[in-house]
C-alpha cells in the first residue's frame, strides 16, 4: 500500500494513484470521448478502412507509395480522412494528450535518472 510521509512506497499503488489522477485531466477526458466517438462513427470507420486498404494495395518504395493499380485511390482516401471531422477531432485529441504525457514522462525521467517514456515504449531494449 502507498503510505505517504514514510519511506515505503509500493510502485503498484503509486502507479494506480498516478493513473487515477488522469481522470481529472482535460486532455485525457477529451481523448477518451473522442476515441469513443470514433469507434461508434460508422462513416469514420469506413474512411479509415478505405485508407488502410488503399495503403495496402499501393506498393511502397522507400518512403513513397506507388499505386500500380487504381491510381488516385490512396490520394482520395487521404482526402476523405482529412475531411472527416470525427477522425480529425480524434487525431487532435490524441496529439494533445500525447504532448502532455510526454511532458509528464519527462518529469518522471528527471527523477528516476533515465528516459522513462522511451523505456516504456521500447520492446527491444535500450542502447544507452
Amino acid at each position: 500500500m502507498l503510505r505517504t510521509g514514510t519511506s515505503t512506497l509500493d510502485w503498484r499503488a503509486a502507479a494506480d494513484d498516478f493513473a487515477a489522477a488522469w481522470r481529472g485531466e482535460p486532455e485525457f477526458v477529451t481523448f477518451i470521448a473522442a476515441q469513443e466517438r470514433l469507434e461508434s462513427d460508422r462513416e469514420a470507420q469506413r474512411v479509415i478502412r478505405e485508407w488502410q486498404e488503399a495503403q495496402r494495395t499501393a506498393q511502397r518504395f522507400g518512403g513513397f507509395f506507388v499505386e500500380t493499380s487504381n491510381p488516385g485511390r490512396l490520394r482520395q482516401a487521404e482526402q476523405a480522412l482529412r475531411a472527416n471531422s470525427t477522425v480529425q477531432h480524434y487525431l487532435a485529441a490524441q496529439e494533445a494528450l500525447q504532448t502532455l504525457l510526454r511532458e509528464v514522462a519527462g518529469l518522471i525521467s528527471e527523477q528516476v535518472g533515465f528516459n522513462f517514456g522511451l523505456a516504456c515504449a521500447s520492446a527491444g531494449g535500450c542502447c544507452g
Binding site: A14, A19, F31, L100, R102, I108, V112, C120
Partner: protein, 124 residues
Amino acid sequence: MTENVRQRAAQFAEALRATPSVRAYHTAQTELENDAATQFLLLRFQARQMEYRRKQSSGTLTEADIAAVRQLQHEVSSAPRVVAFGGAQQAMFDFVQEVSARLSERLGVDFGVLAAPPRSGCCG
C-alpha cells in the same frame, strides 16, 4: 497539467526510484563510471573506432586495423563492469515494461506508445 497529476507523478517517480531494479541500475551505472580501468578501455575502444572509420573512408584500412578493433570490442563486451551494467540495464528495462503495461491497463490507453518521445536513438 493539473497539480494532482504533477504530485502523483512525483510520488510515482519516487516509488520507481526505490525499486530494486532501478536502484541496481543506478548502482551498476555508478560502478561503471567510477571504474578507471574500464573507462580507459572504453576510451581506447572509442579512439580505435574513430580511427577505423577514418581509415575506412580513406581506403587505408588494413586487416591489422580490423583485428585490433575486434579485439578491443571483445575486451569491452567481456569487461565485468560492462557486463554487470548491461544486465542491470536489461532488468530495469524489463521492469519498466511491466510498469508501462499496468499504466496502460489502468488508463485504457497505450501509455508506452503515447508517452514515448519523438523517435530517437537511446534511452540513457
